[in-house]
């Protein structure tokens, strides 16, 4: 049976892992929870529930910093042993603080930003040249698209009509040292990707129905353009005191804060 990828349960895993490993990068994992839930639930095809199946669709987490949310989904899929969650960051363990290849389910080594996008373009090109129907979804952060390589890849994807390529921008408005608008203003991300030749839609990135419907619309489009979904999100979403507060890019959970966060997730579940 397919798991239902309940966003609260994904967030709970994120908080558990962050506490177990005493890790940072909590806020940027919490902002992509609904995006991942919809992708895993309704779009990504893994024959036989095999994360390495040769005919699978590809989910590339280019913003590798959000990897705990992906681990949480992989936990729901039974791709990760419980021990891996509990022993997160322990010496000699497999799961790292950024997406790294070698863990089935993670397609790329990312975290150095602007890499996963191009690798995803290459995978999509490979799928097209091989005449398969495989789809490639790449999740990038809005801060990440400061990187020039993103726009090199966008030009290529549009020029080569990679309609099997979808980029999802997690537009949470914050990057490492502050608001994206104050650091390197992006203006309209929609119009930037549109002008690069993408078919673009925007959604509330925490509304699963909207995400689902927009991705459906993009996937069913008859156009040969690559697709971009701009998801308006909130960094730290789901834990009230973490929302829009960038300290959760860097801060570790104390026992008290951990209890507060879990309590809020459980309480809201009732």
């Amino acid at each position: 049976m397919r798991p239902n990828f309940n966003p609260k349960s994904i967030r709970k895993t994120v908080i558990e892992m962050a506490y177990a490993g005493s890790t940072v990068h909590i806020g940027c994992a919490l902002s992509i929870v609904e995006i991942l839930a919809v992708l895993y639930r309704q779009f990504l095809n893994y024959p036989n529930n095999d994360p390495l199946h040769v005919d699978r669709d590809y989910l590339v987490l280019s913003k590798g910093h959000g990897v705990m949310a992906q681990y949480a989904c992989m936990r729901e899929l039974n791709w990760l042993p419980e021990k891996a969650i509990k022993d997160y960051f322990s010496n000699g363990s497999e799961l790292k603080g950024l997406s790294e290849f070698g863990v089935p389910g993670l397609e790329v080594t990312s975290g150095s930003l602007g890499h996963g996008f191009s690798i995803g373009v290459g995978i999509a090109l490979g799928a097209k040249l091989s005449n398969t129907n495989q789809k490639t979804y790449v999740i990038v952060g809005d801060g990440e698209i400061n990187e020039g390589s993103i726009w090199e890849g966008a030009l290529f994807a549009a020029h080569h009509q990679l309609k099997n390529f979808t980029v999802i921008v997690d537009e949470n408005g914050l990057q490492a040292l502050g608001y994206t608008s104050e650091i390197l203003g992006l203006g309209s991300i929609e119009s930037k990707f549109a002008s690069f030749g993408f078919e673009v839609l925007s959604v509330d990135g925490h509304n699963e129905i909207e995400i689902h419907s927009a991705l459906n619309q993009l996937q069913n489009s008859l156009s040969s353009k690559p697709k971009a979904l701009i998801a308006k999100t909130i960094k730290g979403k789901g834990i009230s005191f973490m929302e829009n507060d960038n300290i959760w890019h860097y801060t570790r959970l104390t026992p008290d804060i951990y209890a507060l966060a879990i309590d809020e997730l459980v309480r809201n579940d009732l």
């Binding site: 080594t109 191009s118 373009v121 290459g122 490979g126 090199e152 020029h159």
Partner: protein, 303 residues
Amino acid sequence: MRNALSACLIGAARANEKTILLTGDHGYSLFDEFRKYFPNQFINAGIAEQNMVGMAAGLAKKGFLPVVYGLSAFVPIRVLEQIKIDICYECLPVIFLGDGAGFTYSHLGVSHQCNEDIAALSAIPNISIYSPADRFEMKFVFESALQDKAPSYIRVGKCDLGDIHDCTSELNEQPLLNVRKGNNSSTVFLATGSMVKKTIKLAERFGNISVYSVPKLKPLDSKKLLVKLEQFRKIVTIEEHSIHGGLGACIAEHIMRSDPKKIFSIGVRDRFSQKCGSYEYLLKEAGLDEESMFASISKFLEE
């Protein structure tokens, strides 16, 4: 040598339809034949090298065998991080061709000259580094890179200098290829790539000195290398590359490690970290914790 390179590329494309050639809008006229016969295996990725190398990783993951062409000033220098993370960490079968290495683009100035490519790549695990001296070595190393099915860099320097060897069949996997026989048993000249020809000429002025070409710089078979060099008291290395991290440095490292009388170098031994863990854990994994270092230094001091 460029004709040989073109022939190698065409041969690879013909032998395997998964071979795919990518260029960052460089290689004027070099790919004319290739494009004529294999238009579907050729991609001009535009003046966008970072994306080109990332895409090569994606293509390799989908079962293709990318050959990425660029000027060595850009591939590998501009895209070193993509080569390290996207290609080498996963050990993907991608061949990089760095053309115009050294001072080839003499008149164009420093932006197009490249004397640091070998050094930059040497510290990255999993990649083989080749530096052929003529068309025969080019064919030999290209085939070797193809067979490896792992990351490779072929440095293409000044390539209109003429032949060194008579044919490819006289080449072998030995780290040192004799290109001039001499009976001087105390001194030897080693050269790579574009400097082999000049070194042969130079050796003539010094009398009976043997000259060896070194077409593969990494990995180097240390044992075979040292056996060959054992008899010589003086070794001269010549390369069109920085003395930091090139042929000379590489030979010196092998000799130093085999006979560590003065220097015993401790550091990260050509590997990526493996597991997740604390800072101290990763130091231990690399042999840089106090106990491991104490043990290895003790052994060195006893020798």
